[in-house]
């Protein structure tokens, strides 16, 4: 790309913005808003440039930048993009400005708030582009700090506890992962994700790990690689989250300010799924295959239990928090189904490609839909003065038709209605998963069903029914709010109607992943 380090520019842009904003006085709220938005749009512009210049047909990593960083331990500054990374960078670049617009009414120390949001964005960009563990881990952790403060200072009544719980939970996963990667470095002497993926798919990584740690305590020859795999798995499973590592999530999502929840659910949860695809799947295919059945059970449990839990909630934010766990469960179902050991016939390759394409698409469309649901809940909260119970409203359709119409679209997209974005991803996942892991896919259908029930309940209780007189004077969406939700809503239709836009960019990457999985 003409020698422009586009990826570095994308990552550094929000960092610069964050530093500038950090030095603004709290009184400069307007200026802070403008600057934050400007830096976000600049980031979006560069992300779109990446997309335009991305050669979807080539299976190579693109926009690669590589430089020695700490040679003594094999650490490099190494960034590059394939279809998966590109998709996530685009999603991040798109969701952040929307989240900042949705936080327009923050007035307590606004410059600091926007500064932290931009820090968070930089962390996400870095995570999705870095290809050396050390480099990647910096950004993985960097995103944690702003999220902690955003929850702690701008959150709801239980914010302190929520922020601490969130931080400690994620750190447990991170430290486990860090130790695992040190063990890996010890055995094979590299932190490079691409190298490690190669060694993982041809089995040398597992051999090296087993040889290195055989006889360490109780470990027999083949167990070492499973222990290491387990530690890395924990790091990602907490982040996604996978049941039973999910308990931090509902509280965190409910307590965080709306804009932050949008970032958390839309983007940070994707870091976990991204880790599964970028790290676990290529590096530990044999190990994942060995524990495939328990993993599938976990995925099914995640899908079904979180749907049921969402059904039982009375707080809209918690409903959508559990629904978010549910939707990411489908991603994990697709990934776990795809590791199945199959024959060499081409048919299986097609199914796996379908499942993984579905996973990527689902990541993207959940990244659009879930933040919008929280955004609408935020609008509702602003109008009701904090009330967001499922039973606090009723008949809003009569007083706020535009709000109900647009939120309805998001709810239906989340529910997986054909023609909207959610459908394509889930359809592809199920298409791939049914032949690969029939029982798990079949059980997961229960989750789909319960999701439909609880989302329709939301529509029923909030939009329809007799008008709750308390809200008779509730204003409808104003122009700013309509403007915020319009682009995302449009994208929901566009992806729902021609998913080819996204699939075109990721298909080559997915094909390569399937190849690496070996039949």
């Amino acid at each position: 790309m003409n020698g422009h380090p586009l990826i570095s520019i994308v990552t550094v842009t929000p960092l610069v913005g964050a530093v500038i904003l950090a030095f603004l006085k709290p009184a400069h709220r307007r200026l802070a808003q403008g600057l934050a938005l400007a830096f976000c749009l600049l980031g979006l512009l560069h992300a779109v440039m990446l997309w335009v210049n991305f050669d979807a047909a080539s299976g190579q990593l693109q926009f690669v930048e590589r430089a020695n960083w700490i040679p003594s331990i094999g650490v490099q500054y190494f960034v590059g993009l394939d279809g998966l990374g590109l998709l996530m960078v685009l999603l991040t670049a798109f969701v952040t400005p929307v989240a900042i617009l949705a936080s327009w009414k923050i007035d307590h120390n606004a410059p600091r708030y926007y500064s932290l949001m931009l820090f968070l964005q930089a962390g996400l960009f870095g995570t999705f582009t870095a290809l050396n563990f050390f480099h990647w881990f910096i950004f993985w952790e960097l995103s944690l700090v702003p999220a902690f403060f955003l929850i702690k200072f701008w959150g709801g009544p239980g914010r302190s506890a929520a922020a601490t719980q969130f931080f400690i939970y994620t750190m447990v996963g991170s430290v486990a992962m860090l130790l695992a990667f040190l063990a890996i470095y010890q055995a094979v002497g590299t932190f490079d994700f691409i190298d490690l993926a190669k060694q993982g798919s041809n089995g040398t990584l597992a051999t090296a790990l087993n040889a290195k740690y055989e006889g360490w305590h109780w470990l027999t020859r083949r167990q070492a690689s499973y222990v290491i795999f387990g530690a890395v798995f924990l790091g990602f499973a907490v982040k996604v989250p996978l049941i039973p590592f999910h308990t931090w999530l509902p509280t965190t999502y409910a307590e965080a300010p709306t804009g932050t929840t949008m970032m958390l659910t839309g983007l940070m949860s994707k870091m976990g799924v991204y880790g599964f695809l970028r790290v676990l799947l290529p590096m530990f295919p044999a190990q994942m295959r060995y524990v495939q059945t328990p993993l599938l059970w976990l995925a099914v449990a995640t899908i079904v239990c979180s749907a049921c839990a969402a059904f039982a909630q009375k707080d809209l934010k918690r409903v959508f928090a559990y629904s978010s766990i549910n939707h990411l469960g489908y991603c994990l179902l697709g990934i776990f189904a795809a590791v199945k050991l199959t024959g060499t016939e081409g048919q299986w390759g097609v199914e796996k490609a379908a499942a993984l394409n579905g996973v990527l698409l689902q990541m993207f469309s959940h990244g659009l839909t879930a933040p919008m649901l929280f955004c609408f809940t935020g609008f509702l909260e602003e109008r009701s003065g904090g009330a967001r119970g499922l039973n606090d409203f009723g008949g809003l359709r009569k007083v706020a038709p535009v709000f109900c119409g647009l939120m309805g679209i998001s709810i239906f997209a989340s529910l997986g209605l054909p023609g909207l974005n959610g459908f394509v991803g889930e359809f592809l996942i199920f298409k791939g998963a049914f032949p690969l892991a029939t029982w798990a896919a079949a059980l997961s259908v229960i989750g789909l069903l319960v999701t439909a029930i609880f989302l329709l309940t939301v529509i029923q209780r909030v939009f329809n029914g007799p008008l709750n007189e308390k809200w008779a004077a509730m204003p409808d969406l104003d122009w700013r709010e309509r403007f915020i939700v319009l682009p995302a809503t449009a994208l929901m239709f566009i992806i729902g109607l021609c998913p080819q836009i996204v699939i075109g960019a990721i298909n080559t990457t997915v094909t390569q992943m399937v190849d690496q999985l070996k039949f």
């Binding site: 993985w140 400690i168 130790l179």
Partner: protein, 493 residues
């Protein structure tokens, strides 16, 4: 240039002594100029360092015993000299409000700094020991005269522990001198001599533990929290920042270099002690009520990483240990500066429960931001200097003893917990703080010297966190020197 770091410091001491009484402004100005010149000499020395070992000064001192005034520098010395320079300058910036007997305060302070520079540059075992003792004495007075909570007790405990350690070291090096029969106390000559394994077996723990007491090795760490708490801000910054490094440095430079076979024999036990220190220090920090005790115990925990890195006996672990010495020096200095100077000097309490209700996050936003950054750096979050350091120590430990590495990882987690707890209680308590309330009890704003000091320290930890190679390029080649043949490569013995 490097020997001038020592000379300048002692010239500063003399200048301060000549100063008439009761001129605190002049005293602190002289101290600052001296420290800045020392830092400048250190930086100039590092920039002109030719690589490898650089002999600086060698003159006969006590020819009858073969003792030389022998100064030199390799990469490890350079890194620690740089740390001393930075810590001394910022320490003075954070003591800008010392009015009580300021002249003597800064004189002791500079004497301490001079001694520390001397230890890091000595390549004669006896000379190193002299500087080492020289550093301990001003330490005692700094705490006993200008300290706070139970200062006599803290100072006495520190002095007693140090002297017991010194006595052990002295016995060890005298024995080594006699056994080698070489009529030289140069580190190089002694390191070449193949001490018999039976001798090393008891001499090594004597010297290593003697030094490591000052590095806060568990279970000999108990002087550290009380000493830190009692010390005035600048002294606790130096105590945690550089004095604890003296112990670790001595253990590496003398005990490990001279007696590699002894290290082989004891490394598992010492590794275990180091890890206990990491986990124990962190756990105890988790339940402290006094803000400064939290930081004091966190120092014990972080120094555990240094000791763990040392006993891994591989280049990665050792360079990690040296990097961790530097990193902890900077971060601990920052933490103590916030607790002692920014908070305690204003609120006159360090009780976390009381601080929780004061809304310091709003009253002192700069202090809150500084502590937040220092806290995250102290957790070992990537991007700050603690991360590459602890990462290397852990890699080294994975080579040597994987189980201990996992336990040390546990220590990191507890570290996250106590730092968050301290952050929560001290600055971001949940108590409602109204603007009237803040106006009723105004706290003096953070002064310019404090801001400069904090910015220097934060900048250093960030720069090293992002480009650890700046220091690693000095540290790593040092371990290729012939001095470390015995330790790392089986050597001539």
């Amino acid at each position: 240039m490097l020997p001038w770091t020592i000379y300048i410091s002692f010239i500063g001491v003399l200048a301060l002594m000549l100063l008439p009484r009761e001129q605190p402004r002049a005293a602190r100005l002289i101290a600052l100029v001296t420290a800045v010149l020392g830092l400048a000499a250190a930086v100039a020395g590092i920039l002109h360092h030719p690589g490898g070992f650089q002999p600086l000064v060698r003159a006969h001192w006590i020819p009858g015993l073969g003792i030389d005034f022998f100064l030199g520098a390799d990469g490890i010395s350079l890194v620690l000299v740089l740390l001393t320079g930075i810590a001394s300058v910022t320490g003075i910036l954070f003591s800008w409000n010392v009015e009580h007997r300021a002249k003597e305060f800064f004189a002791f302070y500079l004497a301490l700094i001079g001694g520390v520079y001397g230890v890091f540059l000595s390549f004669d075992v006896f000379l190193l020991f002299v500087f080492y003792e020289l550093a301990i004495i001003p330490k005692y007075f700094l705490i006993a005269i200008w300290g706070s909570t139970r200062r006599e007790y803290g100072a006495m405990k520190l002095a007693l522990y140090s002297f017991v350690g010194s006595a052990m070291v002295l016995v060890g090096i005298v024995a080594a001198y006699v056994v080698s029969g070489q009529h030289s106390t140069s580190l190089f000559d002694l390191a070449k001599f193949p001490f018999p394994p039976g001798f090393q077996y008891w001499a090594f723990p004597l010297v290593f533990i003697g030094f490591a007491i000052l590095a806060g090795l568990w279970p000999f760490h108990t002087w550290a929290p009380t000493g830190h708490v009692a010390a005035p801000t600048a002294a606790s910054m130096l105590l945690a920042g550089v004095v604890m490094k003296l112990g670790a440095y001595g253990a590496l430079r003398v005990a490990m270099t001279l007696f590699p076979l002894g290290l082989q024999a004891w490394r598992n036990e010492l590794g275990l002690l180091a890890v206990i220190g990491i986990v124990y220090g962190a756990t105890v920090a988790l339940v402290q009520k006094d803000f400064k005790f939290v930081i004091g115990y966190s120092s014990v925990s972080h120094m555990g990483f240094v000791l763990l890195g040392l006993v891994t006996i591989n280049t990665i672990g050792l360079s990690g240990a040296v990097l961790q010495m530097f990193s902890h020096g900077i971060i601990a200095g920052l933490l103590f500066a916030v607790v002692g100077r920014m908070v305690y000097d204003r609120t006159h309490t360090r009780d976390l429960t009381q601080l929780e209700g004061m809304g310091l996050g709003r009253a002192l936003p700069f202090a809150a931001a500084t502590f937040a950054i220092a806290g995250f750096a102290s957790m070992g979050l990537p991007g700050f200097s603690g991360f590459p350091a602890e990462l290397q120590v852990l890699i080294g430990a994975w080579y040597a003893f994987p189980t201990l590495a996992v336990l040390a990882g546990l220590g990191i987690l507890v570290g996250v917990a106590y730092t968050l707890r301290a952050l929560q209680k001290s600055f971001f308590g949940d108590a409602e703080v109204t603007t009237e309330n803040l106006e009723a009890h105004p706290l003096p704003p953070i002064t310019i010297p404090e801001k400069i000091g904090a910015v220097i320290l934060i900048g250093t930890t960030l720069v090293i966190g992002l480009c650890p190679s700046l220091l690693l390029n000095l540290i790593v080649p040092s371990f290729d020197l012939p001095l470390f043949d015995g330790l790392l490569r089986g050597g001539p013995r």
